[in-house]
């Protein structure tokens, strides 16, 4: 069996993939840096840690994964933020209908 492609390779445009919140989904940030992703249509909520919350602030349809990774890495200097982990997370959110990848 061939190995599954790396998360970045599964994105529509790799590192250049742009992403945005799906219609009806919003981000609710909290003072401690965590956030909730909320879908009012499906009445679903997903809690995000600091990394996930910061990543989702770039879900505006203009920032690519590369852009977001640069910003997130900058915010967490001293610990490596693997781009593949971010890519995997974007894929997971897209699978759950909370995110659109490379929308045009």
């Amino acid at each position: 069996m061939p190995d599954e492609p790396a998360p970045i390779e599964r994105l529509p445009a790799g590192r250049s993939t742009v992403f945005e919140l799906a219609p009806g989904v919003r981000l609710e940030p909290f003072p401690d840096g965590s956030a909730l992703l909320l879908s009012e249509e499906s009445e679903e909520s997903l809690s995000l840690n600091l990394t996930g919350a910061l990543l989702c602030t770039f879900a505006d349809g203009t920032h690519s994964l590369d852009d977001a990774h640069r910003e997130v890495q900058g915010a967490f200097q001293g610990s490596e933020v693997a781009i593949q982990v971010l890519a995997e997370f974007l894929l997971e959110l897209a699978d759950r209908g909370l995110l659109l990848l490379n929308p045009r």
Binding site: F30, L36, S47
Partner: protein, 291 residues
């Protein structure tokens, strides 16, 4: 009949005065119902505008409970047919079944509130919610925390006023038909003889104006990492609260989320893992700052 005082006609559940059925043919059920609701303010005359009449009738398919809101002084006193909204039938006629349906109806009719499936505990200047599915230990923890000197608002449902964000008491009788440590049960007020089996009187009195929500405890009674205390982020606290909201008729998800987000902004929370009652209690008290 025992020498117990006659049941009160009315019990106040949140913003409703509930006129209980007198059940002349089944006085033991009427008395049992009165005991189950004894934690709520009682009266022979309502002092508010909203009165919920409760009627009970027997049909071939079983007993039915009916509800109708009236204004004080306008009731016709008929119990046979109090109005619309007869519930599905159940049998036999039991005080515990009636109590369940009456409280459920009162929650559906309560205005401007959200209901968290959880126990409310007053700890100093804040109210903590112990939340989780049935069987997760809410009642046990509520009993344990009460035995340690804390006041409880209820062991199963914690109402939240959607405007003031303040919790309220829902002092139902404790449901104790599970397995509980004898020392906790023995510390509770003794049940009167007519109390339905598997219940204990609410260990009140509940505070009249509980403080705002300050913390959330999510007990986990099995699984790995025995004794672990996992802090929850504010997002996790709100996520959990939203998931544990009871979906009454007219439940509005966006409004509920906005309300819980306001509430959760100033809360702390922890998931506590312990397989014994003592272990859970000691860790919960530690999280609450009462160890």
């Amino acid at each position: 009949m025992t020498g117990s005082p006659r049941p009160l006609h009315l019990r106040r559940i949140l913003d409703l005065w509930v006129r209980l059925p007198s059940l002349p043919e089944r006085p033991e059920v009427a008395l049992g119902l009165d005991h189950l609701l004894s934690g709520f303010e009682g009266s022979h005359e309502p002092s508010g505008r909203r009165v919920l009449q409760v009627g009970v009738r027997e049909r071939p398919e079983g007993w039915q409970v009916g509800f109708r809101e009236t204004h004080p002084g306008a009731g016709d006193g008929r119990e046979e047919d109090p109005g619309v909204a007869w519930s599905a039938s159940f049998t036999p006629l039991r005080a515990s079944e009636l109590e369940h349906r009456i409280v459920a109806e009162a929650l559906e009719r309560a205005a401007g509130r959200l209901f968290i499936h959880g126990a409310g505990i007053v700890v100093g200047g804040g109210t903590w919610v112990v939340s989780g599915p049935s069987g997760s230990g809410k009642t046990t923890l509520a009993m344990g925390l009460w035995s340690r000197g804390l006041s409880i608002l209820g062991d199963d449902v914690c109402p939240i006023d959607a405007v003031s964000l303040r919790p309220e008491a829902l002092p139902r009788a404790l449901h104790t038909d599970g397995t509980y440590p004898p020392e906790l049960l023995n510390a509770l007020p003794a049940p009167p003889p007519e109390m339905p089996e598997g219940h204990r009187p609410f260990p009140g009195p509940a505070p009249m104006e509980p403080p705002l929500l300050a913390g959330l405890i999510v007990p986990v009674i099995d699984g790995p990492e025995e004794g672990a205390i996992e802090p929850l982020s504010q997002a996790e606290v709100v996520h959990h609260l939203v998931r544990q909201l009871i979906r009454t008729e007219g439940f509005d998800f966006p409004h509920a989320v906005r309300t819980m987000a306001q509430v959760g902004r100033t809360m702390t929370g922890a998931r506590v893992r312990a397989s014994t009652v003592d272990g859970m209690l000691s860790r919960v008290l530690q999280v609450m700052g009462r160890a």
